[in-house]
Every structure is written in structure tokens, then in C-alpha cells.
């Protein structure tokens, strides 16, 4: 290989075989601007004809320094940055961050706030899976599912707009509860949505599940075993698609998930088709959770009464001196949690989403780290793609459902 070619490989020479160095196999660059990479992901492929011999993901094109920026903001202000991580799971990011803060401060969350959090998190999961369904079917050349899935996703976005005023970057969940209670139309709107959604999911399934072209492109492709998943720390639908019924909502219930009756869909194929089936079933389970959470939703406050961490209601500020002082202190200086570090985990649509917080007792977090599912799941790309056609690579990327904002932070 000439000097010029080596330079272009950007220090990746050691990741490719001798054959690539001799020029017997071809090293091909895919992305970062490629329609099927679901964002800005660059893959460097080693190809033997059409067969992928090796695949090296190159990430970081969407790195925005969120963790570093959060260190310079108070705990309340830092929360708005969490929305921007995984932009398909904004409510879930708010949730994991608030859970970490609540764990650090030992803050209680009222039952009504927990119920609303669960409803919104499950709607967010459905929205994320709908977008995944549309785009990954589009990658495999099934055009119409995308249009239908986006239509239903729009209804969820409308629900978010109804409760928070924002479609995507809601910052609706706050440490100790919620920004404010949901409007009166909320229950009816959500019930209407979960009434029509099951029929729509049947519709998507009729387009894909038995479609011979779809089956041909998904069964037996991108296989991974449970042992490999555990070794590589892979979680979420990829792990469940390989046959392990592991879901953090069941194993470590948070926000009252233990009160709801739902199943963990698992498949044993470990291929793209299994992951597709798991996600479609998960949408149905999420509908069940939303329904139960709506039925059980208690009345009451939506914010903790701990005034050292949670601002008082507006009505109190006009009459109570203490409330006014608390409000002033919270919005100028922020709150000061105890010294220590905590790690909170949730089940995001993509897998285990964790938030590590370290506090030095000041109003700003000393260190925030997000353990994101896309980052860990993307790492198995070489394992999944070895020996498959370049055309199947597109389906494999889609099937692990990465969001590059989540990977690069």
C-alpha cells in the first residue's frame, strides 16, 4: 500500500487484515453522510467482493460536549441538555437524570407524578419504536410503513405538546416531580390514541411480518447469541431478541412499574427479524402499561413538598415569606445536594440508559456521565456484520436502533 493510501486510513491500519494491506480486499468508506446510517455514523468496511470481512465504526461526529457543559450549570439548568442526547427518547433522558438527582438528594416523588412519568415514558417508547419501524423498513425498501408510522408518531408528539408546550425537547419531568400537572384533555387524548393504535400495529404487521421480501432480508442476518450480548454488555431489544427476557422495568422496578401487569417479549432468533418482532410486541405491551397507568392514576400533587430542592407553587409565593426565599434561592443559587456519587438506570427504548452523577456539595454537578445504550450496542457492529453482504449491513445498522446523539453525547 502506498504512503498516500496509508495516510487516508487515519491510523486504522492495525484494524484491518494483511490482505487489505496487500490490496486483495477492498477498504471502503461508508458515511458519515449516508442515508442509512441513521445520523452521522462512519463505517470503514473491509470487503471481499460483496462480503463484509470487517467493519470499523467511527463515531464522534455529533459530539456536543453535553457532559462537560452540564458541569458548568446548576442541577436544574443542566437538565435541558439531557433532552438533546437521545432525541428519540427525550422524556426517558429527563427521567433518568431526574432519578439520579432524586437518588442523590433522597427526594420523594408523589404517586401522581410517578404515574404521569410512566405514561409519558411509555408513549415515548412507542414513538421511538414507531420511528425505528418506519426508518428500518425504509432501509429494506418498504416505503409505505414509514409514512404510516410517522402518522401515528405525530399523535404522540401532539400529546407531548399538549402537556409541555414542546413536541420534542420537553424538559417536562423535573427533579422531585413534574413541571406542572397535565391539562384536563390529557386523559381523553391518550385514551383515544391507545384505542386506535393496536389496529394500526396490526396494519404494520400485515405489511411486514409475512412479507416474503422482508423475511428474506431479515431472517438469519446479523445474528448474535445471548453469551455474546452479555460479554459485550448489550441490552435492550437486541438482548431480548437473542432470547434473554431481561428488562430493567421488571428487574429493578422504578416509578412504580411493579404495579403494572406486562410481559417482556422475547424471541430466540437473535437476528434482525427477532429484533423486529420484539419491538412490535413491546409497543403492544406499552399500550397495556399506559392503559393501566391511566386507570390507576391518583389525584394529588405532582411535585415533592421538599422545599430545599423543589420550588414552591406560585400561589404560595405571594403570601409566604419562606416560600419567596426558597424560590429566590433555588432560582439564583440552586440546591446543594450531599457529597457522593450515584448511578440511576432506566430501560430506554434502546436498552439500559444510566446516569452517573458525582456531587461535591456545590449547586453544580461535579461530574455527569451518561451510559448510553447506543454506545454499547454499536460496538458489536463488527460481530454482527462479518460475512454478510454490504446490502445487509444497512438492515443490521437499522436493527440495533442507534441514535447518534445518544452515542456521541
Amino acid at each position: 500500500m502506498t504512503e498516500q493510501q496509508l495516510f487516508e486510513m487515519g491510523g486504522m491500519e492495525h484494524l484491518f487484515s494483511e490482505r487489505a494491506m496487500r490490496g486483495e480486499t477492498m477498504v471502503l468508506n461508508m458515511g458519515p453522510q449516508h442515508p442509512s446510517t441513521h445520523g452521522v455514523l462512519r463505517l470503514v468496511l473491509e470487503l471481499d467482493g460483496e462480503i463484509v470481512q470487517n467493519c470499523v465504526p467511527d463515531i464522534g461526529f455529533l459530539h456536543t460536549g453535553v457532559e462537560k457543559n452540564m458541569e458548568g450549570k446548576t442541577y436544574q439548568k443542566a437538565e435541558v441538555m439531557t433532552d438533546r442526547l437521545d432525541y428519540m427518547n427525550t422524556i426517558g433522558n429527563n427521567l433518568v437524570y431526574c432519578m439520579a438527582v432524586e437518588k442523590l438528594c433522597d427526594l420523594d416523588v408523589p404517586p401522581r407524578a410517578q404515574g404521569i412519568r410512566v405514561i409519558l415514558a411509555e408513549l415515548q417508547r412507542i414513538a421511538s419504536h414507531l420511528l425505528w419501524l418506519g426508518t428500518s423498513a425504509l432501509d429494506l425498501a418498504a416505503m409505505s410503513v414509514f409514512l404510516y408510522a410517522m402518522r401515528e408518531r405525530e399523535m404522540i408528539m401532539d400529546i407531548f405538546e399538549l402537556v409541555s408546550g414542546q413536541r420534542m425537547m420537553t424538559t417536562y419531568i423535573r427533579p422531585g416531580g413534574l413541571w406542572r400537572d397535565v391539562p384536563v384533555e390529557f386523559e381523553q387524548t391518550v385514551r383515544e390514541f391507545i384505542r386506535i393504535l393496536p389496529k394500526r400495529i396490526d396494519e404494520y404487521e400485515s405489511l411486514l411480518t409475512k412479507n416474503p421480501l422482508f423475511i428474506e432480508r431479515t431472517i438469519g442476518i446479523g445474528k448474535i447469541s445471548v453469551e455474546d450480548c452479555i460479554r459485550w454488555g448489550v441490552t435492550g431489544p437486541v438482548l431480548r431478541g437473542s432470547g434473554m427476557g431481561f428488562d430493567l422495568r421488571k428487574v429493578h422496578p422504578y416509578m412504580g412499574y411493579e404495579q403494572y401487569d406486562f410481559n417482556i417479549p422475547t424471541e430466540t432468533g437473535g437476528d434482525i427479524n427477532a429484533r423486529y418482532k420484539v419491538r412490535v410486541q413491546e409497543m403492544r405491551e406499552s399500550i397495556r402499561i399506559v392503559e393501566q397507568a391511566l386507570d390507576k392514576l391518583p389525584l394529588g400533587p405532582v411535585r415533592s413538598n421538599n422545599r430545599k430542592y423543589v420550588p414552591p407553587p406560585r400561589s404560595e409565593i405571594g403570601t409566604s415569606m419562606e416560600a419567596l426565599i426558597h424560590h429566590f434561592k433555588l432560582w439564583t443559587e440552586g440546591f446543594t445536594p450531599p457529597v457522593g456519587s450515584v448511578y440511576a438506570v432506566t430501560e430506554s427504548p434502546r436498552g439500559e440508559l444510566g446516569c452517573f452523577l458525582e456531587s461535591d456539595g456545590s449547586p453544580k454537578p461535579y461530574r455527569v456521565h451518561f451510559k448510553t445504550p447506543s454506545f454499547t450496542n454499536l460496538q458489536i457492529m463488527p460481530l454482527l456484520s462479518k460475512g454478510h453482504f454490504v446490502a445487509d449491513l444497512v438492515g443490521i445498522i437499522g436493527s440495533i436502533d442507534i441514535v447518534l446523539g445518544d452515542t456521541d453525547r
Partner: protein, 170 residues
């Protein structure tokens, strides 16, 4: 402390002199850099902590001993518990043996720690930057790396500010 932690915690305390810290029901074990690999291997092979959730670091600058803590969250799929290993590192450019041999997914997490904190992992197969551009100077998540809010450059302080700029330099 939940009783299922007991065998692992007491073994690590006895064998490697690990220091136990408990905060909000989380179990953290502090080990010395020499025992880092052995402690992780023992957790994986003997106590069923078979999956690495992530590796991250904290910078305690200007403190020098220790300046950094490396933190690994290790999960057990059999007892469904997380144990946290912490290792203190002194000085400005420390090194630590790689955990890649024990948990293969440490690869990317360690690359991120190298990129963001400038901690070298000995024996790592592919220690390149992962999030920042390959030609970047400095390690952004160190506490002595500026957080932003650039000072305005005037003719009288142009050179002084240029020196502190986080942008890559020739």
C-alpha cells in the same frame, strides 16, 4: 448492604485490601491500581458479575494524589446487582492496565476515557480518540480544560489568550 453482595465484598476486602463505601444502597469498592485487573477478574469468574456496564472517570484537579478516579460499573445477570469498582490514580498523565482482556466492551469505554481525560490504558488494542477529532490537542473533560466563556481577544492580550484557547494548534 444487601446480603447477596456479601461474598464478593468480603473476598475483595480480604484479598486486595479493598475499601468499602456505601452511599444510597450502592456498593463501591476502592482498589489499588495493581489489583485492578485481578479484582475485576475475580468478580467476573468467582462471583458472577459477568457484564460491564461502563467505565468512566472523575478528575479531582487541582488535587494530585489522587488526581483521577476510574469507575467501572459491573453488573451481575444472576443476582441482578451492580458493583462499582473505583481506582485512584495520581499525577497528570497516569496509566492503568486495560480491562479489555476481562470485558471486551471495555474497548470503547476506555477509548472514551483516554479521549476525555488523557489516561493511558496499557495493552489496549486500539487506543485512538473516539469522540473528538483525531488531531485534537488536550483532553476536554479534565477540570483544568476551560469550559467555554472565551475571553475577548484584544491586541494587548492576544497572545496570552491564544495560549489558553481550546482549539487545536499547529
Amino acid at each position: 448492604m444487601h446480603e447477596s453482595y456479601q461474598p464478593a465484598v468480603s473476598a475483595l476486602q480480604r484479598r486486595f485490601g479493598a475499601e468499602l463505601r456505601e452511599f444510597r444502597d450502592e456498593i463501591t469498592l476502592l482498589v489499588e491500581p495493581d489489583h485492578w485487573i485481578d479484582a475485576a477478574t475475580a468478580l467476573r469468574d468467582e462471583f458472577g458479575f459477568n457484564s460491564l456496564e461502563g467505565i468512566t472517570a472523575v478528575d479531582y484537579w487541582p488535587q494530585q494524589t489522587p488526581r483521577f478516579h476510574i469507575i467501572a460499573h459491573i453488573y451481575s445477570f444472576s443476582i441482578h446487582k451492580t458493583i462499582i469498582l473505583r481506582v485512584p490514580l495520581n499525577g497528570n498523565s497516569p496509566t492503568l492496565p486495560t480491562l479489555e482482556t476481562v470485558f471486551p466492551n471495555a474497548n470503547w469505554h476506555e477509548r472514551e476515557v483516554w479521549d476525555m481525560f488523557g489516561i493511558r490504558f496499557e495493552g489496549h488494542g486500539d487506543l485512538r480518540r473516539i469522540l473528538m477529532p483525531q488531531d485534537w490537542q488536550g483532553h476536554p473533560q479534565r477540570k483544568d480544560y476551560p469550559l467555554g466563556y472565551e475571553e475577548v481577544q484584544f491586541t494587548f492580550n492576544f497572545d496570552k489568550i491564544s495560549l489558553k484557547k481550546p482549539a487545536p494548534r499547529e
